[in-house]
Symmetry: D2
Subunit: 88 residues, 4 copies
């Protein structure tokens, strides 16, 4: 597994742990502003994981596909992801 994927898994595992913590905070009736701040922190970890995944995807899969003259479909997929992310 490449370095970016390993880092993405670390971010995702941390995010998962945070979300478990947030669920517990809700069950324990903890203060909502603290809960909201934890949700924002978990969102940042997901963003980080997404950047890592997309960066290595573009650097490996997309560039390779291009070399084999199969780049068009990969490029269309990147456009789709980009549109989704901008519109969020």
């Amino acid at each position: 597994m490449n370095k970016e994927k390993t880092q993405a898994i670390t971010s995702l595992k941390t995010a998962k742990g945070q979300i478990e913590g947030i669920i517990k905070m809700l069950e324990d009736d903890r203060y909502c502003v603290d809960i909201s701040n934890q949700i924002i922190a978990a969102q940042s970890l997901l963003k980080k994981a997404n950047i890592l995944i997309l960066r290595q995807h573009i650097n490996h899969c997309v560039k390779e596909a291009i070399k084999e003259e199969k780049g068009d479909e990969k490029i269309d997929e990147i456009i789709n992801i980009l549109e989704k992310i901008i519109q969020k």
Copy 2:
């Protein structure tokens, strides 16, 4: 527990399950664009949970604090959260 908190827990549990699935997708070397799309879906669930938490917080805690003339601190907290969310 109020309705919004119950719904937020449901969203968070679904997000947690998705993140477990995403980690497995990475370990199984699944296609990166599918992984990225799953991350975006998990982010939407966290956003939904955050809206639910903040809505009920403002409707209950903030309004109550205001009635007891202790609203100022709550209002400042809302401004802080709002700034964080806009800047993300």
Copy 3:
């Protein structure tokens, strides 16, 4: 006019100038990545203006309405804006 509104107008005037520049860049067939970066910069200025507007609105109008026991409607408006911003 209060300080935040004056600062917001400055940000908005700068954003307006940037957008005029971006339109000219497109008409002059300038490099698209530079154009995209300029659009992102203009978006940051709009975010900054929105924070300034909302901060002073909450600090002045909302708090004042609360003191006059007319806070509920203002609070509902803040929830609506917050939901729009989170879902973007």
Copy 4:
């Protein structure tokens, strides 16, 4: 000029008009929540323009560069833009 660029200019001109309107709203001391909603609408137009610019850039410049075996630099630029947009 291609269709996407023409549409982007239309969006940008509309955004510029909206921002002029927002500045006037501030000068006229109009209601802040209405101003904030107008800022959010202008942001949506900038997002739309950015999608149009990036879509045609990737479909034309990037694909062409790839065919001429000069794709690597273009791909790196796309990664940079993607990271900026995700982190916003």
